[in-house]
């Protein structure tokens, strides 16, 4: 599987969407994205953690050290109200864009 560049723009959206279900740590995010996409999408940790810090900085997420299920201390991220709003907007945008792309693909043959 080559590096999936097409994940770049959507990483933030995926993170927001997954965290909507409750706080989680970076590793779980990677795991979940890969599992849910049947390993089509692979998250580069090198982009995930900077993105998480950037989003925390922007006030979309809040971070907190907690005991993980493995018994180790892990940094858990959770959505803020601002993050929730952002998720709504981004999801709508994403659906519009993908629908538009699909439409173009359908009409041009």
């Amino acid at each position: 599987m080559p590096k999936s560049d097409h994940l770049q723009g959507s990483l933030e959206l995926l993170v927001l969407k997954i965290l909507r279900r409750g706080p989680n740590h970076g590793y779980a995010l990677v795991h979940y994205i890969e599992q849910a996409s049947d390993e089509v999408l692979r998250v580069e940790e090198g982009s995930l953690y900077p993105a998480l810090h950037r989003m925390t900085e922007a006030g979309l997420l809040k971070a907190e050290w907690r005991q993980s299920e493995a018994g180790r201390r892990a940094r858990f991220y959770d959505l803020t109200a601002k993050g929730r709003k952002k998720l709504e907007a981004e999801e709508k945008r994403w659906n519009n864009v993908t629908a538009a792309v699909a439409k173009v693909l359908r009409t041009v043959s």
């Binding site: 740590h25 970076g26 590793y27 990677v30 580069e44 940790e45 090198g46 953690y49 900077p50 810090h53 950037r54 900085e57 971070a63 993980s68 493995a70 180790r72 201390r73 892990a74 940094r75």
Partner: protein, 270 residues
């Protein structure tokens, strides 16, 4: 990222290296637990230092550091092109120097007011004639005059006799002050004489300008008569420079252009 958020991030709640490290370590440990080869997991993770740096680059010290780096890099580049650098430096030096010099002149000539009681009310009296040279100025006149093509003449220099008549009869001003000269050779009590600024002034000079005496007396009407012993008042600057502000400078013999005079006062400073 803005400077302010960098600052805030540095002052409050900034993820220090240790924290980022722990986060990465946790991630690697989870991978290892899952049964992946730790080395492969680390490789896939990418370079932890890069991640740390990328995350850390949001603080202010890193920003300052990179500013310093940029500055050093800039200096190295400058050193590589000495001729260009030198010409830039010289243009800056000349430009700034010229500006400073011009400003000093403008400041002294236009902006700073004279060290007198009411500089705003000072006026220079000028004469204008509709045609030719005024008869009253024919004697004892010095200084510059301007003419225009229609024969009209202007000037601000008056002969002593006209000055005296004006000073006596004018009612437009509180007082009319006369002065002449500019430089003279001045020697104080046997010391080596030197060229220094000197004005011959009317007796009302200091009262008219509102400059108080620090020492001795000002001129009086007696002094302003032909045939009297010339008397001199030291300017504040002259007094400080030649006598170091001493108080025993009155009644000294002073030679002005080799004519004997006597010091009677010292003027106050600005």
């Amino acid at each position: 990222m803005g400077l302010w958020s960098r600052l805030r991030r540095t002052l409050f709640n900034s993820p220090r290296d240790a924290e980022i490290n722990e986060e990465i370590q946790f991630h690697l440990a989870m991978k290892a637990r899952e049964g992946r080869d730790p080395r492969e997991a680390r490789l896939r993770f990418g370079n932890p230092t890069t991640i740390r740096e990328e995350t850390r680059a949001m603080g202010i010290f890193e920003w300052l550091e990179s500013v310093l780096q940029d500055a050093r890099y800039g200096l190295r580049q400058l050193r590589r092109t000495p001729v260009v650098t030198l010409s830039i430096i010289i243009s800056l030096v000349v430009g700034i120097g010229a500006n400073t010099a011009i400003f000093s002149i403008v400041d002294a000539a236009l902006l700073k007011s004279l060290p007198v009681a009411d500089p705003q009310s000072l006026r220079v009296v000028q004469w204008t004639t509709s045609q030719g040279w005024p008869e009253q100025l024919a004697h004892g006149h010095s200084g510059t005059t301007d003419g225009d093509p229609r024969g009209r003449m202007q000037g601000s220099s008056f002969g002593p006799r006209l000055y005296r008549a004006l000073a006596r009869e004018q009612t437009a001003f509180e007082s009319l002050i006369g002065f002449a000269g500019g430089d003279a050779t001045v020697g104080v009590e046997g010391r080596i004489a030197e060229r220094t600024g000197l004005f011959y002034v009317s007796e009302n000079f200091f009262e008219g300008l509102g400059v108080a005496m620090l020492l001795g007396r000002t001129f009086d009407a007696q002094d302003d008569q032909i045939g009297r012993e010339p008397v001199v008042i030291l300017s504040h600057r002259f007094w400080l420079r030649h006598f170091g502000g001493r108080s025993d400078v009155l009644d000294r013999a002073v030679r002005i252009n080799n004519v004997a005079a006597r010091s009677v006062g010292g003027a106050g400073g600005a």
